[in-house]
Every structure is written in C-alpha cells, then in structure tokens.
Amino acid sequence: MKAARTYLTASALAIGLMSTSALAEELRFTVWSGNEAHLKMLNGIAESFKATHPDVTVKFETIPAADYTQKLTFQIAGGNPPDLGWMMEDAAPTFEKAGVLMDIGPSVKAAEGYDFGDLSQAAMGLWQDGEKVYGIPFSTSPFMIYYNKAMFDEAGLDDPLALAAKGEWNMDKFQEVANKLTEANPGKWGFEFKDGEGYASRVMHALMPPIRAYGGDAWANGECGFDKPEAVAAVTQLHDMVFKDKSIVPPGEQGDYFSGNSAMTINQISRASKMPEAGFEWGIAPLPAGPGGESPVIGQAAIVVFDQGKQKDLAAEFVAHMTNKENVATMAQFFPPARKSVLESDAFINSNKLIPADQMKNLGAAIAAGKVLPSHEKSPQILAAMAPRIDGLWKADANVEESLKAVCAAIQPLL
C-alpha cells in the first residue's frame, strides 16, 4: 500500500513537472553586444514581457559582431535558427531575398496599443517590402564626428560643434582644421577613419560620408555611383588629406583616436561608452556638410524573426513588446530610436549621461534627415570586388578617377 502511494505521488509529480515544462517556453534571441549594461537592459525588457506571458523566458545569446552574420547563416543552414535576433543593415537584403525572415507586420500591427505609424518611414525603408514587414529597427544610429576638444583648444581652433553652430562646418573647413591639428601635434593625425579600419573592413564608413556630402552615392537604381563627378571630387579630397596633407591616418599606420593619437574620428554614439577611459575632454558634432548640403549617414540594425523558428508567432509578439514606445524609450540610452515620438521627447535628449543635450539634439536631427548606408543583396560580393580596386586607390601616386572607374567596372555586373 505504501509502495503504491509512493508510486502515485511520484507519477503525479512527474506529470506536474512535464506539464509545467510544456507550458514554459524559451525564446532564443541572438545579439552582437556582450556589453553588460546592454544585456542588463535587454533582460529587463524580457522580464517585463512576463506581465502578459508569465511562462515565457528570453535567452539572449551573444555572437561577436565580426562573425555575426556568418554564424547566424550557419545556424539557419543547420536547421537550428534562433527564434529572433538583431540584424545589420548590410545583411538585410540578402536575408529578405532568401526568404528566411518572417513577415511580422500582421503580428506587430495587431499587438495591443502598438503604434506602427509612429515608426519613421525613412527608418523602415530597408525593412519593408510593400505591406510586408521583415524587421523593426531598434538602432538608427547616425555617424557623428568625435573630436578631442583639448587638441582643438591647444591649437587655438574652434571645435566642430562650435563651427557647426556658426554654420561653418563643411568639408573645406574639415580639411583645414585636420591639417592645422596635424601640424600642431607632430606624430599625431587630424582624423582617423572609423575604428582605424577605413582602408579595409570599414571602407564604406570611410567613403560614404564625404561622397554623400558632395551629393553622390555608392549606387542607385542598379547603377554604380563611385565614378560620378561628385564621388570623384569627394574621394580626391580624402586622398589629398591622406597623402598630401598627411592629416588622416594613412594605410598601414595606427593612430587610435581613443588613445589621443588623432584629433577627430567618425563613429556612432555606442562608442561614447569608451570615452570616460580616454582621459581627455571630448564632444560629438554632425558630419561636415558639402556641396550636396548636410547629408547625415546612418548605420541601422533591426530585430527580425526567423521564418524557420518553431515559435515564430510568439517571437513576433516579443518584437512588438520590445519595440513599443516604453521599451524603445528605455533602449534609446544606447540605441537611437526609429520612433518619432521618442526621438522628439526630452527623455531621449537627456537619455545619455555621457552626451550633453545640445549634442543629442544634433543626433536627433541627423536621424530625422539621414540616409542609411547603402546595402544590397550581394553586399559581400560587392565589397570583395571593390576591395582590390580600393587598395589601388590608397596609394600616393594613384589616379583617383581611374581607380573609382575600376571600382565601378568591378561591381556594376553585381548591381
């Protein structure tokens, strides 16, 4: 009798446990940030999802940015995709075209209280195809000029923020101050490309701001734009700064801005977290304007749901939760939002403890007026085809126009 009772109790417990595990669901969410503050914030958002979905947990899995798209592809190819994840702008067309992203439009639009119309249409451009919605941007982050204020002050120069306020911050002034800063600081440079990788993995980040400032673009409507007069003029100016003025860190050298070896660099606000360690006074300013006017350049990332996922409807519900007004406002401290209401709010202007309100206003203006970096379903092939021709460009005796024509000849068949 006692044995029978024990057996019954154990069975009841087992059934109870099984039913609990059947109800509990876990969403796997891939991200490329391993930053503790970022993950703490994301886990907080996941925790708040329990209010409506008490049995759902979200596990954030960090994959380093350099391998992110590649590893994501392997997981999808291996039949083990995450339920949802972050996606960079340059990968979006490839994944959309391959049909591996879920149309989350119906789910997010049906979510209670979700204001889809509040999302900036300019920011949504890359993630929509007609009525279909393949992602909701969580970071619409413009590239800004980071400057070492101490170096500007020591050289007796107005800093880029002051020049921008006076309406004098343009490409000519940029070249002029970079030159003066280099002369005033022997062994250092006026400007460093993003993360010192402008001649390799960050080539688009190096070329696009000046090309767009001159009114050009990398490509448009299937036609290469690198050999157009605007792009040639912009790249010629950069080339002169590298090899004639020697005011930009040249190929093969390291002149890290964050270590005080360059007076200016270009980056997004996520890099502001490195500044307290830098040990010098600094600021951020808009990109210099050019003959084409002010042309902010934006790097973007969105949250997507994978179509092969076993819990894709639940994952889409989580996207709606994560990108509602409240959570977007929370994320704005690290990731500039695509929601107009948040972007225009005082909460956003004061969200970043490291960046003063006047500089955050410039950031908001850049998001509103900016254009996302170029992307294409064959981005990896295009960048690989460009690479050797761009290498040829970054030589002291290079003919800029001929090098850019060679770039177009190489990539035109892929466009």
Binding site: A98, A200, G252, Q254, P380, A387
Partner: protein, 309 residues
Amino acid sequence: MTETALQQTTARPKDAPWLSLKYREMLEAWLFISPTLIGFLIFFLGPLVAVVYYSMTEWNLLTQQATFVGLDNFHDALFVNPDFWHVVRNSVIFALGLVPLNMALALTLALALSRPFFGVVFFRTVFFAPVITSAIAWAIVWKFLLQGEAGAVNQMLAWIGIDGPNWLREPNWAMAAVIVTRVIKMVGLNMILYIAALQAIPRDYEEAARLEGASRWQIFRMIIWPLLAPTTLVIMVITTIGSFKVFDHIYQMTGGGPENGTLVLAYYIYQQGFEFFDVGYASALAMIMFIIVMVLTVVQVTVRRRGMQ
C-alpha cells in the same frame, strides 16, 4: 563413420564459445579500432564524399536550395573566372617562397643545434616556441610590427638608414612579409625533425670520413645530406601541403589584400563558402586544391625516389 558419430563430431559442445577463436579475434580487433574507424567515417570520409557531391551542385547555404549542375563549377573555376588562376598563382608563389626558405633555415638550425653544448636546450626552445604559439596572436603581433612608418621593423631599418616599405599595403612586400613571418612561425617543427634525423646518423661515418681527410663540406655533401634524404622528403611534402593550406595567417595579416596580392587558394575557398555562401563553388575549389596537393606530393615522392635510386 556412422551418421550419429558424424553428428557428434560436428556438433558444437555445450560449453564451447559461440564464435571460433579466429572470428573472436577478428571481432575484438574491429571493436578495438571502431572508435577511430567511426570517427574517421563520420568526420573524414563522410565530408570528403559529401564535398565531391556538393562540388557538382549550385547550393546556396542561406536559401538551402541545391541544384545539380554537373561539372559547371569546375568549368567556371578553370575556364571562366579569371580570379581563380590569379589565386593559384599566388598560392604557387607562396609555396615557392616558403618551402625552400623554411627547409634551408630548418636544416641550418638543426646542424647548429643537433650537438650538445651549453644552452642548446634554450636555443631549441626559442626556435620551437613559435610553433606552439597561437597563429592568430602571432599574426596580430606581426601586423603591428610591420606598420608603415610607425612599425618597429621600419624604425629599426631607419636606424641603419633604410627606408622600409609599407609592408602590408604593397602587394609584393605583403607576400614577402607573410612568407617570412610564416617561416619564422613554423621553422621550429622542421628543425626538430632534422635534429632527430641528424642524431640518428651513426657518428662512425663522419669519423671515418674525417680520417680519410674529408672536409666538413664534403662530409655534409657526401654523407649527411644523402642520409637525410628520407627526412627531407617528408619535410618537403608536409611543408608544401601546409603552404597550400595556409589560411589563418592570411586571414589575420592581410585578408587576401592588398589588391588581392596575398589571396591564396585556402582563403579564396573560405571567401566563396563562408562569406558568399556559395557552397557548391567553394567545394569545387576545394576539390581542385585537393588534386593539386595530391599531384605535387606524388611528383615529389617519385622524383625523390628516382634520385635515391
């Protein structure tokens, strides 16, 4: 013999093992090698066969769509895509630069360090240490040392009045730089193989030659070098294969640049398969690389054997 007696002799005794000794031993042998055999089949032979099939498909990793295209990928590589022959040329230049340099340096070091003297273990350790150092860490450090004007290598050259090139930004210098840094990294392994071979040569031969009045060069040329031939063959084969498979060094130091000047076959295969997700074409390239390395190995072994005969 009656039928009953015959049944008695052929019937298996009740307590006899169910397998004869011969089959039992065979079964045991198979069981002993089965862990390795299963691993070999799953992780080596299986993928090898799969690559042959993949090489005849147009398979996009992301879309998971595979279409059988026969030998089209091979045709594209060999007769259509101009990059392929450029990449093969780079791989051959890399091998021609690396193999002789590595072997000559390894032999020189081995001759210097094969005999005992004070500090010999220290020197052997110094030259062998890079072999067990992380290849990526090694490449990162060299990338730093080989910077343009600010690099340590060029600053040292400047002390003696030489204006060093921008090593990793000029195609020819970049190839030379990756070859030399790769040789320094791997030479210790071949040095150890040569030291082992040198120590296995009986001292009597050398002493006899010396008594006959042979010079040091003659002893090396006529006695040591011929006796090292089997080791030289092994070293030549493994170094050649290794040079065609080089990837990590290129990946970290140059990424195949500048101007595709260091884009070698293994890195090109990686690019096609893991950056462009074109697994079919990458598999065809891997098959071609396999055939190139196999042919080179057979040629080396044949030439060497004929030379020894």
